[in-house]
Symmetry: D2
Subunit: 339 residues, 4 copies
């Protein structure tokens, strides 16, 4: 067996996530290099590319994918630009790692799903990176082992120190709870069928016009009830905790204690301040898994179906938030292609 | 100041709880003794009384309270017998520690409340013993201190290894969740205004006809949303956990680690197997607090209003469980007498 | 069976410990009352006695024990006064709870031991209250169960926020490490045969002339090696931790987590600030156990032999501290009377 | 700035560690590739090389380093072969990552140290990988920050499920405790001046002729006392724990809780079963740090001085173990070259 050659990757979008992926592929990931950086702001793309040997910067994704110098594409541009970039990659038969959301809504996700099915083979891995987090992986392995019996409930806490400017109630669902929606589907292998949202009196930390925190309730087609505390102005740090309540026990993650001090009348440790600190390893593992699979000629990880399902559940979530009460999730039947 | 004399207590009811209270007053509590034991089964009462110096056993509560040999009454008979015993104690102006439930429903609780108000002074302490648990007391002190700001949400887990024979869905609310209902009111100083119940597909451990576990959602007049996992056939032990989510942090109890072992590839500790093990200290502290207050001529602790409120919330809970959806709680206005 | 009558106790010494025991017997302990309070400062004794019904205050222990109004004696006077008080109690055949140290040195402890043996029955329980702490009791039960196999090593940490004025290197052994010496003997059922003391460069918190912290190493006749960090100016609180390292696992206590908060970038809880907070329950349990045994006509708990052994090991500890190196412990053979 | 080219590494030795490093550089490390694999068993080297593009296998380290196809050398052969391989690398001015031990004893380490000094620049990074463990790094950052004041003591536990066949008392020091010796020096920035070893009665799990566990005491020139429980047949897993006791608090690592379950009457989690599981990330980080520094033209990390110091302390440790008592450490003065 001879070694496969180094994968040449075009990174589209150079915002916070895109720039971090460029750094990651350049300095952390084995077996891949950044061969093209693309951004609407072509100057910014060229500047980023200048620090990397054999890498070009430009402003047009389609042109970059047409050069023949690209083996795979990482899409990290804003959500509304994803559909066009994905279809272009499909035209060149290029494997894609697409940051979440796949597209901004279920209808557009459905179009991408149909286009991929027409190709006859999968090309897309969607960027739900929690599936690559060591703790979630351990939890999934334990649930899959059957040692604890069937899962009955899940409790989740998702907390940010503070929300960025411009964050809205809808983004609470679409940008934050979407992660719990995806891990619920992935951990349980079940689809979500209804969403209910309860809103306590908002924290005085919440920006005007935002109801924070909220309690989001998910119901699955396997009869599991899932509660999610979403709390994006908690003030004290970034926390993602999950507990699966099963027939023969419970299992929880997110309470890591790596350095514990006793000092000044208190014992304890620090809380991570953002998702980069909490999930750095998960991002590394996600991109390495994508590079490794691509070099083997395979597509693994979250699929376009997962991206579509997330969009459909989010739409129900935003309605539940706005209208109150329990909102059913509407989805097309799962194509055999994605089973 | 001279020492007050030893309090002579009549214990009514000699079931599991009553017999345990007899033992407690006889062997653990300072400043009190059991002077009378009463049970419908007078033979059983006499047998229990025989082991205690200066204690008589009999079958008629009213007669026992009329002897003049009793300074205070502890009612531990079945709920339906409470109203009559309470009114008899009122007639003799005897302080009462009444095991929960105060009475079986809100209407009868209301009658007791009106009778006590007519006396012009409180006589009753209701047996919500979690208010005397060291961990709950610490949590309340922290919330009351204001260090964490206003409480926004509460998460609770209430788990039993298995439910006793004959346990029903309604008892899940009336006997189990009633504790979380009371501590919610006590910790927050707020009334509960609505109840919603979600039922996952039942555990295979649940007896036929019982939906176990359930997720009970409480809303308060202060805008706090409270979730309660009630899970009475969890198989692994007895657990009561609570987390208050506040504006400036969270606080949780119920995760005590007193003895931790590393052995056979695992670290960890044991889980209590029943409430006697978990709350033994709380029962001792509850009864001692009642004895101490009574010797000082005071009535403290959970009031008849608290017993009534619990009954009203339970009635809404059982309806929410049966009918689905969100059920508002109906209560009379709080009398100034109980403020 | 008729109930035994209330035990009338004379408390000798009304310093911090003595006054606390008076309060404890008066308000917490079931089945006993304080009938006499004695202190060199008779005025202080009278003042304390005034608040308790049927209790007299005076300045002469021997006179108090001779009144016939006393069933048992609790000695909480300074150590040098213990021998005389014990011998007087022996003369009246009164059961005694004697605060540690039994006497100030091994020679005087030996004299008390011989006097008790001449009586032909035990009268003394020595106040090593850690044996009544819930955590130590669990640890002992686990070690005794044999589940973890033979104990090989023990690690201990004994920390105080700060040492009281006048505390010396010798008191570090005699007043502090003496507790680990006693629990080592009790947990393992083995005698200590040698002591070594290592002294790091002292903390800047240590008072002039005191070497704090120190590492004390104990070796037992069962081949167990025990290390004790004694650290009485640690600044952050009072902590007592112990870990038994056994053939099939380890077990540790002292890391209780009763209330855990997430706030201001940190998770964790508070550390107790003194032994009263940490061991309040142990003191209550110790005195109640003594009262209960005495009312049954029995003597249980730590014996005069335990008090003597502690004194002998302390003497070796102070020598090891002063002279460096490993110092063997010298003890008389254990009398059959104490087996 | 243009990107530096991919580093070509020769790996010498293809035992467990060597083969794992080959896999690591091939699949995990960014910016480097394996260009040569060398083993006394040339067939084995060729077999391993066959799976890697552009990689040759051979039996002669000196020949492999002379080809001009190698930019850096990773030495993972048995300890006695290190000195010659190091001197050969020096002759070709090749940067080296040398697995511990640097050489088998202090005298040979001193020769390597003198040879490196003659070059006038550092070439060697010694493989003390704990310095790259995330938890140890956090502990060092905290100690260096000065928040807890000066370190006074350290407590360490180093446990293996079982020792491999042929493991001896001397290897307990040279292969196991050597890690605590190195991290003590690194965490504190102090040299070790004396070693004492206490041996409890051996566990029944210990192989015949081995005294396991042992308590190793280190003293530093900064007055810190360090205890190390070395326990290589503990049966239950692999554990490395450390606690620094400082003037204003303590800090501990090694108690990670990533997945916690409540089941069958117990709460808790699993214990790692070997160092590969516990320190996988540390190995990755160590080699990546070496590759990155080498590509920048720098030598960082543990130096030949560190390798020499470890050898000198180990020699004292083995003597302390054999002879009993406290053995001083003898070392040459630290050359300015290594400051």
């Amino acid at each position: 067996m001879t070694q496969r050659r180094t994968l040449r990757i075009a990174v589209i979008g150079t915002g916070k996530m895109g720039a971090d992926h460029v750094r990651r592929i350049d300095q952390v990931i084995s077996g891949a290099r950044v061969s093209a950086v693309v951004d609407l702001d072509a100057e910014r793309a060229k500047q980023l590319a200048a620090g990397i040997e054999g890498c070009t910067g430009s402003g047009d994704p389609a042109a970059a994918m047409a050069t023949g110098e690209v083996d795979a594409v990482l899409i990290a541009s804003p959500g509304p630009a994803h559909e066009e970039a994905l279809l272009t990659a499909f035209a060149h038969d290029l494997p894609v790692l697409c940051e979440k959301p796949l597209t901004p809504d279920a209808a557009s996700a459905l179009r991408v799903m149909e286009a991929e099915q027409k190709l006859g083979h999968r090309l897309v891995q969607v960027g739900f990176m929690r599936r690559y987090d060591a703790e979630y992986l351990k939890l999934k392995a334990l649930l899959d082992s059957g040692h604890l019996g069937r899962t009955l409930m899940m409790h989740n806490q998702h907390r940010n120190a503070s929300s960025p400017p411009g964050f809205t109630n809808a983004m609470l669902i679409n940008d934050s709870v979407v992660h719990e929606m995806d891990v619920t589907r992935w951990l349980l292998g079940q689809e979500i069928t209804a969403v209910t949202v309860l809103r306590p009196r908002p924290s005085s930390n919440a920006p005007a016009g935002m109801d924070d925190p909220q309690l989001v309730l998910l119901e699955t087609d396997g009869g599991v009830v899932v509660d999610v505390e979403i709390n994006v102005n908690c003030g004290f740090g970034y926390q993602v905790k999950a507990e699966a309540v099963c027939e023969r026990g419970t299992a929880r993650i997110g309470t890591k204690q790596s350095l514990v001090t006793d000092t000044a009348g208190r014992w304890g440790g620090t809380i991570a301040q953002d998702f980069v600190e909490r999930f750095a390893d998960a991002y590394d593992r996600e991109v390495q898994a994508w590079v490794d699979a691509t070099r083997r000629g395979e597509v693994t990880g979250p699929s376009v179906w997962d991206g579509y399902a997330a969009a459909a559940v989010c739409e129900a979530g935003v309605r539940a938030q706005r209208e109150g009460g329990r909102i059913g999730v509407e989805m097309v039947e799962r194509p055999a292609f994605y089973r």
